[in-house]
Structures are given as structure tokens and as C-alpha cells.
């Protein structure tokens, strides 16, 4: 089933950490397997925020060797960064297996991502100047507490509570997906794509990488491919309605935009609240109501509808 949510503050910032946690916790019944957040905070002034994991949560239960292995993987990441002349400005361990680095890097992001992900067990969750992507097993409150997300200030955010149906319950298959190799692009999706393997093969031929077997990753990579070829986000989203087969509603965010698209059958829900200062969207209105106590007007977008908002 899955629940998706998003919020964008126009011309200002807000407590998107608590807002999105509240929305996703309200959607917990739609998918308790994992929860993910893509936050867009203030710009890091030419620096990148790199979020990556060096193991799956489940790996920690497989024996004592994994703890040493994670340390080795981390050392390899830093060694390869040095080789690429990446300057590490700041580093934090959110959990034993999930890390946040602030880096300075002037080279090609695809090369950086490929070089780091070449280390066995390491996956980049996001690279961005404003994007920070956090995802893990458990509900929104658990992930929020584990990663200290409460009070996170930013302009916009998207999130996902996942019910695993066709791929594993692990961080690799959790949403949001970063649109490798583009900085600051993230996607969450509710639905099922029926042309996943066909689409994946085509995109892999174009040089894109897939980290999971989750059909939702196809949307992120599809949009990345379009953007790479000069298509605007909104046009890429409109083209996706024909290119992606199946039932879906997805939400995508960039450093300054937030958008949603709904398939031609309108088979997956989405409720919108739109005001001059703020737009909130979620699979269920109850999630929006969890952050707006006053009476508000909401509506459902229609089949085949694409909307994009500027922050």
C-alpha cells in the first residue's frame, strides 16, 4: 500500500523534521516496514552533503565480524575520497551503519558516486547541496529518534512509509530514492510499475545504476535520465505518465521544487492542501490534518495530473 507525503514552505523555512515525522507516523498503517525522509535544508555554500550507509540494519544481527567490516568499509570510503581530492569538512555517524559527511568536491558526481559505491556493502543514499536523505527500518517516530531529525529546519521535504510487497525489507529498498547521479533530486512512490524490468534494462544501457530491485527506483532513474538530457523536471514528469506503466502516484523534489504526478487511472490516492505559504500533500488527508489544526480546504488531484511548486 505505502504512504507518501510532502510539504513545501514558500519563501520561508519550517520545522520540516517534526512536520514530516507527524505526517508519516499518521500514515504508519499504510506501511510499517521502513520510513524515509528527504529534507531540503539551507544551502551548504558550495559544499555537498553526502549521506551513505555502510551496511544494512539486518547485517548487524549476522555476527560480530560486521562491526569490524563496517570500519573497514568506512576507511575505504575515506581513502577513495582522498584519491578523488574530496575534502571532508564534517563527518557524523547517525547510526553504526549510516553516515553524514559534509564534503568539498569539484569533480563529476557520477564518478564520485561510482567510486564510493564500488566498495562492497556501501550505498550512497544522497548527494546534495541542500538534500539530506535518511531512511531506515521502522516507523517514522523510530527513524526520527534514531537519526535526531526532530526540529530539522528546511524549506521542503518528502517522505515515505513503506509496505514491502515486491522487494526486500531493507534500507536499499526503502524510499525515498535519490536520482543518481543528480544532486538534490529525490523521489517517493506509491503504486506498482508493470514495465519495471523493461524500463530498467533501457536505462542501464544508458549507463544508469540501480541499487535495488524495487520498481520505485525506476522513477528516480527515469527522471534523472530525462534531466541529464536537458528535459525540465515538469516535462520529464509529464512524459513519465506515458513511459511508466502501472498504477502510481509519486512525489519528486529538487533543491527548489516539489512536484507530484498521478497515473491515468488515478488508482493511487493523493490529497492536497494548497495555500499561499505552504503546500502539503499526502496519501491520506488525516496526515495533513496532523500538522494543521485549523479547518483547511483539501482536494484530490485528478488522473494524469502533474503539479510542480516552487519553494
Amino acid at each position: 500500500m505505502c504512504g507518501i507525503a510532502g510539504i513545501i514552505h514558500r519563501g520561508t523555512t519550517g520545522d520540516i523534521g517534526n512536520e514530516l515525522t507527524s505526517m508519516l507516523q499518521t500514515l504508519r498503517h499504510r506501511g510499517p516496514d521502513s520510513t524515509g525522509f528527504a529534507f531540503y535544508g539551507s544551502s551548504t555554500d558550495g559544499q555537498y552533503i553526502l549521506r551513505f550507509k555502510a551496511a544494512e540494519q539486518e547485517d548487524l544481527k549476522k555476527g560480530f565480524g560486521i562491526h569490524q567490516e563496517i570500519k573497514q568499509r568506512l576507511a575505504s570510503v575515506e581513502e577513495r575520497m582522498r584519491e578523488l581530492e574530496v575534502q571532508i569538512v564534517e563527518q557524523q555517524a547517525a547510526t553504526e551503519y549510516a553516515y553524514r559527511y559534509v564534503i568539498k568536491y569539484g569533480g563529476d558526481l557520477r564518478r564520485l558516486a561510482d567510486t564510493i559505491e564500488d566498495i562492497d556493502g556501501v550505498e550512497i543514499l544522497s548527494i546534495g547541496t541542500t538534500l539530506e536523505l535518511v531512511k531506515d527500518l521502522g516507523d517514522a517516530r523510530q527513524v526520527c529518534e534514531s537519526y535526531g531529525l526532530s526540529g530539522y529546519q528546511g524549506t521542503h521535504a518528502i517522505g515515505h512509509s513503506r509496505m514491502a510487497t515486491e522487494s526486500d525489507v531493507d534500507i536499499r529498498s526503502a524510499h525515498p530514492y535519490w536520482a543518481y547521479p543528480f544532486k538534490d533530486v529525490a523521489v517517493v512512490h506509491n503504486g506498482q510499475l508493470t514495465n519495471y524490468w523493461k524500463g530498467r534494462r533501457e536505462l542501464e544501457h544508458n549507463g544508469h545504476r540501480f541499487m535495488s530491485n524495487c520498481d520505485s527506483e525506476l522513477i528516480a532513474v527515469y527522471l534523472a535520465d530525462k534531466i541529464e538530457n536537458g528535459t525540465t523536471l515538469e516535462d520529464a514528469m509529464r512524459e513519465s505518465l506515458d513511459a511508466l506503466d502501472g498504477v502510481f502516484t509519486y512525489v519528486v523534489a529538487t533543491s527548489d521544487q516539489l512536484g507530484m504526478a498521478k497515473d491515468m487511472m488515478a488508482a493511487k490516492p493523493m490529497v492536497l492542501y494548497e495555500s499561499e505559504n505552504c503546500i502539503a500533500l499526502a496519501s491520506e488527508e488525516v496526515a495533513i490534518r496532523s500538522i494543521f489544526k485549523e479547518e483547511i480546504d483539501t482536494f484530490d488531484p485528478y488522473e494524469g495530473e502533474v503539479r510542480v511548486w516552487q519553494k
Binding site: 488515478a266 491520506e284 482536494f299 484530490d300 488522473e303
Partner: protein, 281 residues
């Protein structure tokens, strides 16, 4: 109503004006048998007894239990404050009741009801009034998809816009929409009437068996088996009467609305609606 024993009364009220084909499913209730049409678990209520519930901190189950408790105490007018778009509120009410929600409902609101008059001062999520048998549900704002799915009777009214698959599999009753509807509205419609004052999305009336759709705005496209029909004087009068009941108006007048019917006879159905059967009683 005991004196209304003749089936001709319903003809006089304009309920049997459509040509019936083949096997008829009309079963006219006998007033003498009315006691057989009482549900276990339904309540005799007094419309002058009013009570309020603040649902802000309550679960959906607790709200439903509270409504039943109040109906058991004879309250015939219940106001629910702060519903906060919670799911499955106002469901399974099998008796007459005036029920007001001061706010929006989530999914599956007012499902499986038979008799209450519900007013929602807000919006409703997906599948509002699913399988409704009788009564009225009036929504002041917008509604989500699958509005009135499999409805069998009563009047379901949304004054705003509604989503896709409105009235999917509807088997009777009347759905009135003040604004537009999404794709596949009246999908597999079997009986009843759907009135859309705004525009209708693609594939309107796809695979419909029977029933009638009236559209005041543009129709994006008709579905398989749906064809334009010819509006009759009786239908124009019926539309005028029905819309006036809920303070709605056709933008260009009811006479200019488009009528859509099934183009292929799959089964033999009539359009007598359970709610109107009850009025005859």
C-alpha cells in the same frame, strides 16, 4: 403512510415512468408488512434530542461506539466536532438519525448506512457512503475517489468536485455532484441516477449495464457501452426537483444537460430506488 397501499401511488409520484424491459425487479412494500423491515441493532430516536461529541482525541472505533450509545439513549440529532479526517466515521447506522460532522472525514465515511441524514461540513476521502442503502449524505466541500461505490439507494450529494470512479458499480440511489468528476465515473453502473453538474472525466459510464447519467458540463469521453440518450420531460422535472432539494443548480439549466445511458442491454433492471420504496411505505 399506512393508507398508501396501492402501487399506483408510486406511479403518481413519478417513480415508474421509465419503460421496463423483461423481468422486473420491482417489489413494492406492503404497509402491513412494514414491521418485517426493521433491522436488529437499529434504534428509535427522537429528533428533538440533540447531543455533541468532540472527536478530536477519540479513535474511530470510540466515535462509532459513542454514536451507538447516544442513539440507544434516543438521541436523534448528533453533532460530531473535530473529526479531523479520521477514517470510517458514521458507518453502519441503520435507522433515521440527523448526524452532522463539523469538519472533514477520511476514507470510508458513512459506509453501509440505511436511513440517516448526514451532513458533512467539510471534505470526504475515498469511498464515501460505500454500499449506502437509504438516507441522505450531503458534503459541503470536495470528495475523493470511489464516491458512492456500490451505492444501492438514497441521495449522496457532494457540492464540490469528486475524484475518479465516482459511483463505481452503483446499484441504485442518486449521486449528485456540484462540480466535476474524475475518470471512469459510473463504471459498471447497474442502476440509479448520477447527476454531474460540472465536467465529467474520461470513460464516463464505462461498461455500464443500466441507470442514467446526467451531465451539465463537458464529457471528456464516454466509456464502452455508454451512449447519449434523449432527455424526457419527466426527467427534466425530476432533475429540477432533485437539485432544488439540495440547493444546486445546473449551470445552463436542466433542459440542456446531457443524458447518458447504457447502449447495450446486458440485464433487465428498473430504476426504482430503495430510498423511494421506503418513502412509499
Amino acid at each position: 403512510m399506512a393508507e398508501m397501499t396501492s402501487k399506483h401511488k408510486s406511479y403518481d409520484m413519478g417513480m415508474h415512468t421509465e419503460l421496463l424491459r423483461g423481468r422486473s425487479q420491482q417489489i413494492l412494500f406492503s404497509a402491513e408488512e412494514s414491521e418485517n423491515f426493521v433491522y436488529p441493532g437499529s434504534f428509535d430516536v427522537d429528533f428533538d434530542k440533540r447531543s455533541e461529541i468532540d472527536a478530536g482525541e477519540m479513535t474511530a472505533t470510540a466515535i462509532t461506539v459513542k454514536i451507538r450509545e447516544l442513539m440507544g439513549q434516543g438521541f436523534g440529532h448528533i453533532v460530531v466536532k473535530n473529526p479531523l479526517a479520521k477514517h470510517s466515521l458514521g458507518v453502519g447506522i441503520l435507522n433515521r438519525l440527523k448526524l452532522d460532522f463539523e469538519g472533514s472525514l477520511g476514507y470510508f465515511g458513512c459506509g453501509l448506512i440505511d436511513g440517516p441524514n448526514v451532513r458533512i461540513h467539510g471534505r470526504v476521502g475515498w469511498s464515501c457512503a460505500e454500499n449506502m442503502l437509504a438516507g441522505t449524505v450531503v458534503i459541503d466541500k470536495n470528495a475523493g475517489s470511489c464516491f458512492g461505490a456500490a451505492i444501492r439507494g438514497g441521495d449522496l450529494v457532494c457540492k464540490g468536485d469528486v475524484g475518479a470512479r465516482t459511483g463505481i458499480n452503483m446499484k441504485g440511489g442518486t449521486i449528485l455532484v456540484g462540480g466535476r468528476t474524475g475518470a471512469f465515473s459510473a463504471f459498471m453502473m447497474q442502476r440509479g441516477r448520477m447527476v454531474i453538474l460540472g465536467d465529467a472525466g474520461m470513460n464516463l459510464g464505462d461498461s455500464m449495464y443500466d441507470g442514467t447519467i446526467f451531465v451539465g458540463g463537458k464529457i471528456q469521453s464516454l466509456g464502452v457501452d455508454a451512449i447519449p440518450g434523449e432527455m424526457t420531460d419527466v426527467e427534466i422535472k425530476w432533475l429540477g426537483r432533485k437539485l432544488a432539494m439540495y440547493g444546486l443548480k445546473a449551470p445552463k439549466g436542466v433542459a440542456k444537460m446531457q443524458k447518458i445511458v447504457a447502449g447495450k442491454q446486458l440485464w433487465n433492471y428498473d430504476n426504482l430506488e430503495p430510498a423511494e420504496k421506503k418513502i412509499i411505505l
